[in-house]
């Protein structure tokens, strides 16, 4: 029968499953007042990936994310999200900002902060409420929706910011050093929370940090940035199995090796690594 013919194969050159690029950056340059900050950034993030971007303090990580998100015009290069050149913030993109307490609106309750982006989407009020509640639930704040952000601890505020992004259902989530200013214990909890949320949802994450251990622990791949003017130093695959564990994973020999190579890539000396 004619039906026995093999199904039309996906184009031979097509990327294998999970290898569709969702974010493509090519030759991105950006400076402030003639002072170059980003000097030719090229990278790709694939559908479903968790990519960690590590770079030293002040190298332009926030600047880069703002360019990628269409919030900041750049001098040259291209940024594509889902194949379309970025001119303004794409609807499929969410961000968790570095400065969580300022990114939340203190005049709205936690629940209203999470619902705010949904008001302007083509979904019903009921659906919006359900999405917001589900997101708050998934970050463990179901009982705190009525509070104002400033009544919560720093770690809880960052959970609100994460819930707001989740409720928006982005396909690509950019996170800008989200855990840089919470205490170590909270940080560990939030890292594991992010890994769980990422594994539960169809979401690609680009996670910016200056913490090498965090980058390795979370990522499928690590993009190491240079000092300013900032370019890409190296891209490394993190071949650590998932699910990861704060103690077991970090105790492996492979973790130590990766750590050493990222340190080297970032230009640290041996003693700095130790």
């Amino acid at each position: 029968m004619a039906e026995t013919a093999p199904p039309p194969a996906v184009a031979p050159a097509a990327a294998p499953a999970g290898r569709t690029p969702i974010l493509e950056v090519d030759g991105l340059r950006k400076g402030y007042g003639g002072d170059p900050v980003l000097d030719g950034i090229s990278l790709q993030v694939f559908e479903g990936e968790f990519v960690s971007v590590v770079g030293p303090s002040g190298c332009g990580k926030t600047t880069m994310l703002r360019c990628l998100a269409g919030l900041l015009p750049f001098e040259s290069g291209t940024v594509r999200i889902d194949g379309a050149a970025v001119t303004g913030p794409p609807a499929t993109l969410g961000i968790v900002f570095q400065d969580y307490s300022r990114s939340l609106l203190p005049w709205l309750s936690v629940r209203d902060n999470v619902r705010l982006p949904l008001r302007y989407q083509a979904i019903s009020k009921k659906q919006a409420a359900a999405q917001a509640d589900e997101a708050l639930e998934s970050v463990g704040l179901a009982a705190d929706g009525h509070k104002r952000p400033w009544q919560l601890s720093g770690g809880m505020q960052q959970r609100v910011a994460i819930a707001r992004a989740l409720a928006y259902r982005p396909r690509l989530l950019l996170m800008d050093e989200p855990f840089a200013s919470v205490d170590a214990q909270t940080r560990v909890e939030l890292e594991d929370l992010m890994l769980r949320l990422w594994s539960e949802r169809a979401m690609t994450i680009a996670f910016v940090t200056h913490d090498i251990d965090e980058a390795i622990y979370l990522g499928d791949r690590i993009v190491a940035l240079t000092r300013r003017p900032t370019g890409i130093r190296e891209t490394m695959t993190v071949d650590l199995p998932r699910p990861r564990d704060q103690i077991a994973t970090k105790a492996t020999e492979r973790f130590a090796e990766l750590r050493a190579s990222v340190f080297t890539a970032l230009g640290h000396h041996e003693e700095a690594a130790g």
Partner: protein, 254 residues
């Protein structure tokens, strides 16, 4: 506990002392200009604890209220617009500074020409004098939006109007209220001034009538009344300001 008691008792005591001082110092006064406080209070009772209150005071308060409301509405609309659209701001800044520097009652003569001498003019000049402090405060307020909040709003798909409604306006509210607080005494001065020369009712009219016919105890009673109203209105505005700070401020422990 004791401290709070003191905080309430102290102003009451000092006020009582000041009144007592006034009373005794003026008790034997035969000066035409400074009648004894007892006469003033008698006039106060006769003038303001009677039907005159509604005939004289209500038109004045109504004018101040309406003028303030109009001036504030206009100031907020124009000010937040200028503050939110950074590109306009540098162009209009010199004009704003110029208008700010003009004494508010200067607007009365041209307004009489344009609006006549009726209520429209009076409400108009009060609105015009309230406009500037509110407008300038609204510009400041709208300008002080945290940049990351602007980024947040854009990333999460809020359009211009939504950004204004949820981010710019709430940020500006405490600033705007500061402007209202500054405008209120100015509005009272302008109200009196506008009623002084051309009116058939209102406190300004009463002041002009009593002072030109040398009914000075009556005149003083109107001044005392104005003081009382001023204190009441200012405390009300300040109280509302604290409530708004709590609602819209950054970090409160309320």
């Amino acid at each position: 506990m004791n401290r709070r008691l003191w905080a309430i008792a102290l102003p009451v005591l000092t006020t009582a002392a000041a009144v007592a001082l006034w009373w005794t110092a003026s008790a034997s006064s035969t000066s035409l200009y400074f009648p004894p406080l007892s006469d003033i209070l008698e006039a106060f009772r006769a003038n303001w604890l009677s039907r005159q209150l509604t005939d004289i005071v209500v038109p004045s308060l109504w004018r101040v209220g309406l003028g303030m409301a109009l001036g504030t509405a206009l100031g907020v609309a124009i000010g937040t617009l200028i503050g939110a659209i950074r590109r306009i701001e540098s162009y209009v800044q010199p004009q704003l500074e110029f208008m700010r520097a003009l004494p508010p009652i200067l607007v009365i003569p041209p307004m009489i020409l344009v609006l006549g001498t009726g209520d429209t003019m009076k409400i108009g000049v009060i609105a015009a004098s309230a406009l500037w402090p509110v407008l300038l405060a609204a510009v400041d307020g709208a300008r002080s939006v945290e940049p990351v909040r602007d980024d947040m709003a854009r990333v999460f798909g809020l359009g211009r109007w939504a950004r204004f409604r949820w981010v710019v306006l709430p940020t500006a509210v405490p600033h705007i209220w500061g402007g209202v607080q500054a405008a209120m005494p100015i509005a009272f001065v302008v109200m009196i001034a506008s009623e002084y020369y051309s009116s058939t009712n209102g406190l300004g009219y009463f002041l002009s009538q009593t002072s030109t016919s040398f009914r000075l105890a009556d005149m003083w009673s109107a001044i005392v009344l104005l003081g009382v109203i001023g204190v009441a209105v200012n405390s009300l505005v300040a109280y509302a300001g604290r409530r708004l700070d709590r609602r819209f401020g950054e970090y409160t422990d309320g």
